[in-house]
């Protein structure tokens, strides 16, 4: 199943750890440059700022906002970013996104 076919997913993108976009399939109203720049900036800020509090930053990050969610899943040296609607169910829909992330990780030989 393609990631963008998962209910609630509006678009997705793969960015490297250093913020370079690898692939993107974003829906209407989502700008590639903006999503890539801000996603990598958020992930980098979390990695740097939370270091005094956690030894390692978890690979699964979900940002919830008033009109949608952003899901970040670690793929080794890259991240899968999914922009979703607000009603994404973390217990069911996220399982599908995780499974696709695993496949991408395997396919791209991203496994650590």
């Amino acid at each position: 199943m393609a990631l963008n076919q998962v209910p609630c997913v509006q678009g997705s993108m793969v960015i490297t750890d250093d913020g370079i976009m690898v692939a993107a399939a974003l829906g209407d109203g989502l700008d590639e440059d903006t999503v890539a720049a801000l996603s990598s900036s958020l992930v980098m800020t979390l990695k740097r700022s939370l270091k005094p509090f956690c030894e390692e930053i978890p690979d699964e990050i979900v940002l919830t906002a008033s009109e949608g969610k952003l899901v970040f899943l670690g793929l080794g040296p890259a991240y899968l970013v999914a922009v979703t609607k607000k009603n994404l169910k973390l217990e069911s829909d996220l399982v599908e996104i995780r499974s696709i992330a695993r496949k991408i990780r395997h396919k791209c030989e991203f496994s650590v």
Binding site: I20, D33, L46, S49, P52, P58, L63, T64, A65, S66
Partner: protein
């Protein structure tokens, strides 16, 4: 110097490549006509000489001056326009040949060349396509990253958009990581930091270029601009972008709209201690305000100022990213691993709570607790504002 170079027999010069290179570099660096024009207060002499050079068919020389000119006179419409036109006129006839070369040999370098020329004729879409193709073919080659970085830098220079600046920084950083001595990429990074108002960071990239290209007018101009800027006082790039976007000081206006840290601490600390103390696996809960002050702490351990600034930065970045990415106002950030649970939750207009624990199974308990805390904050705030209003009315009545 030219005489000294030609005094060396040709055969010797060719055999000793290093000496030959040194001579060439020294001769090239000594010849920088027009640099004095960039020291002038106004852009008119530079514009006049550049136009003369263009008319005389010396577009290469005019372009060197104009490229330095846009750094010297940032935002000067005439310099920018003449630079654009000169680049376009020079690129157009070269594009056909570059495309033919690319058809003959598909390589990152050739894709990057087409990208560069397409950008100069203001066809950003084609420029981006070829830049990405260069990266896809040879991800370990710096050419594609440079080509795309240049597109974003042009836009950042023109409209100051944070997103373009972030992208320019990422692509040129990657290019420099792959080729640390590439002068144009180092200069581009220095320019991004100058545009962000960060002279210390800019100087780190200027120093190696100043050594290898001491008379490059762009180095001199960027160095001068660095000396005009106050020190940024941070090495955090995200902090620089937030300042660029919101201006300094960080959202202090927001802080005025809510109950300040001085008015609530002990009560709030007791409240969160009681609420989160019941959740198993809790390692610490901290609440910070928009000015990155610690408002309350569940743990006896208080984070140091740097760690606290980091929490504030996470909150400010998450707020900024949510709004910019079109998903609305930031509410919550969840980070989960097998033995880790981190939740960052908005509490009112400007406060943010941070939970750190080691039991991800308690996620919903933590979220519900934050919701209750947010409600209690709202009530506190309302009560405080009513009290304040009553006090002010009373004061007004006493005066009249």
């Amino acid at each position: 110097m030219v005489g000294a170079s030609s005094a060396i027999p040709k055969g010797v010069r060719d055999n000793v490549g290093l000496i030959s290179k040194l001579f060439r570099r020294k001769r090239a660096s000594a010849e920088q006509p027009g640099t004095d024009l960039l020291r002038e207060q106004g852009a008119d002499p530079l514009l006049r000489v550049s136009r003369q050079l263009l008319t005389a068919g010396r577009s290469d020389r005019a372009l060197v001056l104009l490229r330095a000119g846009i750094l010297r006179f940032p935002g000067h419409a005439e310099v920018a326009e003449l630079h654009r036109t000169a680049e376009k006129n020079e690129a157009l006839p070269q594009l056909k040949g570059a495309l033919a070369t690319l058809r003959e040999e598909t390589s990152a370098k050739n894709h990057a060349r087409v990208s560069q020329l397409s950008r100069r004729i203001e066809d950003d879409e084609t420029a981006t396509e070829h830049g990405r193709a260069a990266i896809a073919i040879e991800p370990r080659s710096p050419f594609g990253y440079r080509a795309i970085g240049r597109i974003y830098l042009d836009r950042f220079r023109a409209d100051s958009s944070t997103v373009d600046g972030m992208n320019a920084l990422r692509y040129f950083s990657k290019s420099c990581a792959l080729d640390p001595r590439h002068a144009a990429s180092l200069l581009a990074l220095a320019e991004v930091f100058v545009l962000l108002g960060a002279p210390e960071a800019a100087r780190r990239f200027l120093a190696p270029v100043a050594g290898s290209h001491p008379n490059d007018p762009s180095v001199e101009i960027l160095e001068r601009r660095c000396s005009e800027l106050p020190s940024e006082g941070t090495s955090n790039v995200q902090e620089l972008f937030l300042r660029h976007e919101h201006g300094e000081p960080q959202p202090s206006a927001e802080a005025e709209t809510t109950t300040s840290s001085e008015e609530l601490p002990s009560k709030l600390t007791g409240q969160i201690g009681e609420m989160f103390g019941k959740i198993a696996g809790t390692r610490g809960v901290w609440v910070v305000d928009a000015n990155r002050h610690l408002v309350a702490s569940q743990s006896e351990e208080t984070p140091g100022p740097e760690a606290l600034a980091g929490l504030g930065l996470v909150s400010a970045t998450a707020r900024s990213c949510s709004a910019r990415m079109g998903v609305g106002n930031f509410e919550r950030l969840l980070l989960r691993a097998d033995d880790q649970l981190v939740i960052c939750n908005v509490l009112g207009d400007s406060m943010t709570g941070f939970y750190f624990g080691d039991r991800p199974s308690r996620q919903s308990d933590v979220e519900q607790t934050f919701e209750r805390l947010a409600l209690s904050f709202e009530e506190e705030k309302k009560a405080f504002e009513e009290e304040k209003k009553a006090f002010e009315e009373e004061k007004k009545g006493a005066v009249t």
